[in-house]
C-alpha cells in the first residue's frame, strides 16, 4: 500500500499538533476571522472547476484541524464550531484534492472583505497532508533531491545544466567568482523549462555592466521546492545553503530571473522564516531594467510585435512589482497591450504553487528527462489526471484574455506560468509565442 492510501490516526494527530505549533498572529487571523461569506470564490481561478474548490472551502480543513487543537470555545463545543480531525483515508484524500487546487495567487486575499489569505492556510494544510503521506510523488522526489544538495546527481538534469553552462561561457560568464557585487541565482527549473530566461538575463547583466557571477551548480531545483508543500524545515535548509553561498562570494545582492514563487520566497518569506535579515538584497532582473530605462542608461530596439504581459502572481500582487514590468514592456514595444485583468487584480494562469508541476504531462516530461518511470500509485494517477483537467479549466480565463488582447507574444517572468501557458495553449489552440521577460528584452538590446 502506498502512503497515498494509508490512514494512520497517530500520523493525523501528530500532523495536527505540528500544524498547531506553527500558529502565529497572522495565521490566527486567517483561521478565526472568516465568516464564510464566500466572496473569495468570485476571483479564485479554481471556482470554475467546482464550487467546492473555492478558497473558503479549501481552507476549511485547516480550520477544522486548528479549531480542534487550540480554540477554547471550539474544544468545548466541537460540533457547533466545526472542529475535528479527518476520520478516514477517503476524507484525507478529498482534502488533498482541495489543497492542490490552490495556486496561492493571492486573489482570495485581496477579494476577501476581511483580508484573509486562504492560500497561506492551504500551504499549512499541505504541510499537514504531507505528514499523513499525501505529497505528490514528483514533488516529494524533487524536494528530497533538493534537500540532499546533490541536484545534478540525476544524469538528465546534469546534461541540461551542462548545456546551459556551455552557452553561458560563450557569453563570457564567470562562475563562483569571489568578490562579485551581484550573484545571479538561476534554478534548475529555469534550465529545464525557460533556458532562454537565463541566457537573456546574462546578456542583460553584461549589457548593464554589472559586476556579477553565478554558481556553476544549481543551488535549488526551484527555490525551495519544500515551500510548495509547506515544509518550512526543509525549505530552511535549502535557504541556508543559498545564503552561505552568497556570503561566501561576498555579494551585496542576489538577482533572480524567475518571478514565480522563488522571488517572493527569497524577497519576503525567507527573512520571516529565518527571523533575521538575509544579509543581502534580493532583486528581480525587471527591477534593474526598470531603473536603467528610467535613468536613460539603457536603450532598446523597438519591437514590432503586438505584445502583452501576464503578471506572475508572486512577482506582481504578492511581490510588489505590479507596474514596473508593464512599464519596461511599454518602453520596449509600441504595440504593448494590457490584458483585461492587468495590474493588482491580474488573473492567475491556474498552474502556480506547484500545481502544473504535479499534473500528468509534467510527470511524463520528467520521466523522459530522467529516463526512468516515476512510481505513482493508481490512486495518485487518478488525482493527477483530474487535477490536470481542472488546471485547464482554471487557466481558461487567462487564455480568453490573451485571445481577446490580440497579442502575438505573451511575455511573463515565471517558470510555472510559462509551463502552464504552454499546456493551456496546446489544449485551447491559443497560437501565441510565450516568452520570458529577460528573453524578450535581451533580443532588443542594442549591439
Amino acid at each position: 500500500m502506498s502512503a497515498w492510501e494509508e490512514f494512520s490516526i497517530d500520523a493525523v494527530k501528530a500532523g495536527a499538533r505540528d500544524a498547531a505549533g506553527r500558529l502565529n498572529s497572522v495565521l490566527l487571523h486567517f483561521v478565526e476571522n472568516c465568516v464564510s461569506c464566500a466572496l473569495c470564490e468570485i476571483n479564485c481561478p479554481y471556482t470554475p472547476a467546482g464550487e467546492e474548490y473555492g478558497p473558503v472551502e479549501k481552507a476549511e480543513p485547516l480550520r477544522k484541524i486548528l479549531r480542534s487543537q487550540v480554540f477554547l470555545a471550539a474544544k468545548i463545543l466541537p460540533l457547533l464550531f466545526g472542529a475535528r480531525l479527518p476520520r478516514s483515508a477517503e476524507e484525507i484524500n478529498k482534502w488533498a484534492e482541495l489543497a492542490y487546487r490552490c495556486t496561492n495567487c493571492g486573489l482570495c486575499y485581496t477579494t476577501c472583505p476581511f483580508g484573509i489569505h486562504s492560500g497561506t492556510m492551504i500551504q499549512h494544510l499541505r504541510y499537514f497532508l504531507a505528514k499523513t503521506g499525501r505529497v505528490p510523488t514528483l514533488l516529494k522526489m524533487m524536494m528530497e533531491l533538493e534537500t540532499s544538495g546533490n541536484i545534478l546527481s540525476a544524469e538528465g538534469f546534469s546534461r541540461v545544466w551542462s548545456e546551459l553552462l556551455e552557452k553561458l561561457r560563450g557569453l563570457g560568464v564567470t562562475f563562483d567568482r569571489k568578490g562579485a557585487k551581484y550573484v545571479y541565482l538561476p534554478s534548475l527549473a529555469e534550465a529545464l523549462i525557460t533556458p532562454g530566461a537565463v541566457i537573456g538575463t546574462a546578456r542583460i547583466l553584461n549589457k548593464l555592466g554589472l559586476d556579477w557571477t553565478m554558481p556553476d551548480k544549481p543551488l535549488s531545483i526551484r527555490a525551495p521546492i519544500a515551500s510548495l508543500v509547506g515544509d518550512s524545515e526543509a525549505a530552511l535548509e535549502v535557504t541556508k545553503r543559498m545564503i552561505d553561498y552568497v556570503a561566501g562570494i561576498g555579494a551585496s545582492a542576489v538577482i533572480l530571473s524567475d518571478g514565480g514563487y522563488p522571488y517572493r520566497f527569497l524577497r519576503f518569506d525567507a527573512p520571516a522564516l529565518l527571523a533575521k535579515p538575509l544579509g543581502f538584497d534580493v532583486v528581480h532582473v525587471v527591477e534593474l531594467l526598470h531603473e536603467a530605462l528610467k535613468k536613460g542608461a539603457l536603450k532598446l530596439k523597438g519591437a514590432d510585435q503586438k505584445v502583452t504581459w501576464h503578471s506572475p502572481c508572486q512577482l506582481g500582487r504578492m511581490g510588489g512589482l505590479v507596474e514596473e514590468p508593464a512599464e519596461v514592456l511599454s518602453a520596449a514595444s509600441k504595440n504593448f497591450v494590457e490584458l483585461e485583468s492587468h495590474g493588482f487584480f491580474s488573473k492567475c494562469c491556474g498552474g502556480g504553487n506547484g500545481v502544473a508541476c504535479v499534473v500528468t504531462p509534467t510527470v511524463e516530461m520528467f520521466e523522459g528527462l530522467l529516463g526512468t518511470r516515476i512510481p505513482i500509485s493508481e490512486k495518485e494517477k487518478v488525482f493527477m489526471d483530474k487535477l490536470y483537467k481542472d488546471m485547464l479549466i482554471a487557466s481558461k480565463a487567462k487564455v480568453d484574455e490573451i485571445k481577446k488582447s490580440g497579442a502575438s507574444v505573451v511575455v511573463t517572468a515565471c517558470v510555472g506560468c510559462v509551463h502552464t501557458l504552454h499546456l493551456a495553449s496546446k489544449a485551447y489552440g491559443l497560437g501565441v509565442e510565450i516568452k520570458t521577460l529577460p528573453e524578450f528584452i535581451a533580443e532588443l538590446l542594442p549591439e
Partner: protein, 262 residues
C-alpha cells in the same frame, strides 16, 4: 422580578464581564503569538499608499457589486448597511436604552431614528413628552423626511430579509455538502433573526397588547441581545469589533506598505 427587569437591571454587568473576558482572551492571543518578520520594505510614495489603503477597504465592495450581486444586495446593503448597523446604534429606543446604561451615548440623540414612518410625525405634533427624565422628542432628529425610509420598521424588515437570505444560502450550501458551512453559522443567524423579530414584536406590542406579554417580549429581545454581546468575542460576530478592521489593515500593511503592490 420579571424577564424585563432581569435583562435591564441585573444581567448587564455580567454580560459586560463576559464580553471583556472574551475580548481580552482573543486580543491577547494576537499579542502573544506575534512574530516579527524582518523584511525589508519596498519604498512607495505616501499618497499612493494612502490611496492603496482606501482601495483595500473598497475593492471587495466593488468586486461584490460587480460579480456577486445577490450577496452584495442582501448581505451587505440589506443586512449590514441598511439593516443591523443603523438599527442597533441609532434606533430611538436603543439610543435611550444605551444612554441609560452609558450616559455619554446620549450624544447620538439628534441622530436617532424613529421606530416607524409615522412616529416622528406623531411626536412632532404631540403636545407633551412622555413623563420620564430620559424622554426627548424626535423633533430633534436631523433626518426630517428621510424618516420615511430611515425608520425601525422598514430597516428591521430589510435586515430580516438579509438574514433570511443568508440562512437560505447556508442551507442550500449545506444541502450540497459544502464543508465550510457549520452549525455555528445557523445558530448565529438564527440568534440575529430572533433578536430582530422580538424587537419588531415588542415595538408593535405583538402578539398582544397586554402589559405582561409586552414585558416578556421586550425582555426576551433584550436578553437575546445580551446573549449576542456576551457571545460576540467567541463567535463569528467578532468580525464586527475586530476581524474586519484588523484584517483589512493587515492586508494593506502586508501587500501595499511592505511589498509595495500598488
Amino acid at each position: 422580578m420579571d424577564l424585563l427587569d432581569l435583562a435591564i437591571y441585573t444581567l448587564p454587568p455580567y454580560v459586560v464581564a463576559i464580553f471583556a473576558f472574551g475580548v481580552a482572551y482573543r486580543v491577547s492571543r494576537y499579542i502573544f503569538m506575534h512574530k516579527r518578520a524582518p523584511v525589508k520594505r519596498r519604498p512607495r510614495p505616501a499618497p499612493k499608499l494612502l490611496i492603496g489603503l482606501v482601495k483595500t477597504f473598497v475593492d471587495p465592495l466593488i468586486l461584490g457589486a460587480r460579480l456577486r450581486k445577490s450577496d452584495f444586495i442582501s448581505g451587505l446593503i440589506l443586512l449590514h448597511i441598511l439593516g443591523v448597523i443603523p438599527v442597533i446604534f441609532l434606533l430611538g429606543q436603543h439610543v435611550a436604552m444605551f444612554s441609560y446604561w452609558f450616559p455619554p451615548y446620549s450624544v447620538l440623540r439628534p441622530l436617532s431614528i424613529p421606530s416607524s414612518a409615522t412616529s416622528p410625525a406623531l411626536t412632532l405634533t404631540a403636545p407633551v413628552k412622555p413623563v420620564s427624565e430620559m424622554s426627548w422628542t424626535y423633533v430633534e432628529s436631523v433626518w426630517g423626511p428621510l424618516t420615511i425610509v430611515l425608520n425601525g420598521d422598514l430597516l428591521a424588515i430589510l435586515a430580516m430579509l438579509g438574514v433570511m437570505y443568508k440562512l437560505g444560502d447556508k442551507l442550500w450550501r449545506a444541502y450540497r455538502k459544502i464543508i465550510h458551512v457549520r452549525l455555528g453559522d445557523f445558530t448565529a443567524l438564527l440568534l440575529l433573526l430572533a433578536i430582530l423579530v422580538t424587537g419588531f414584536f415588542a415595538t408593535h406590542h405583538l402578539p398582544s397588547g397586554d402589559v405582561p406579554t409586552y414585558r416578556f417580549v421586550l425582555g426576551m429581545h433584550i436578553l437575546l441581545a445580551e446573549i449576542l454581546v456576551a457571545a460576540l468575542p467567541f463567535t463569528k460576530f467578532w468580525h464586527f469589533v475586530f476581524g474586519y478592521w484588523y484584517g483589512k489593515l493587515h492586508e494593506w500593511y502586508d501587500l501595499k506598505y511592505r511589498r509595495g503592490a500598488l
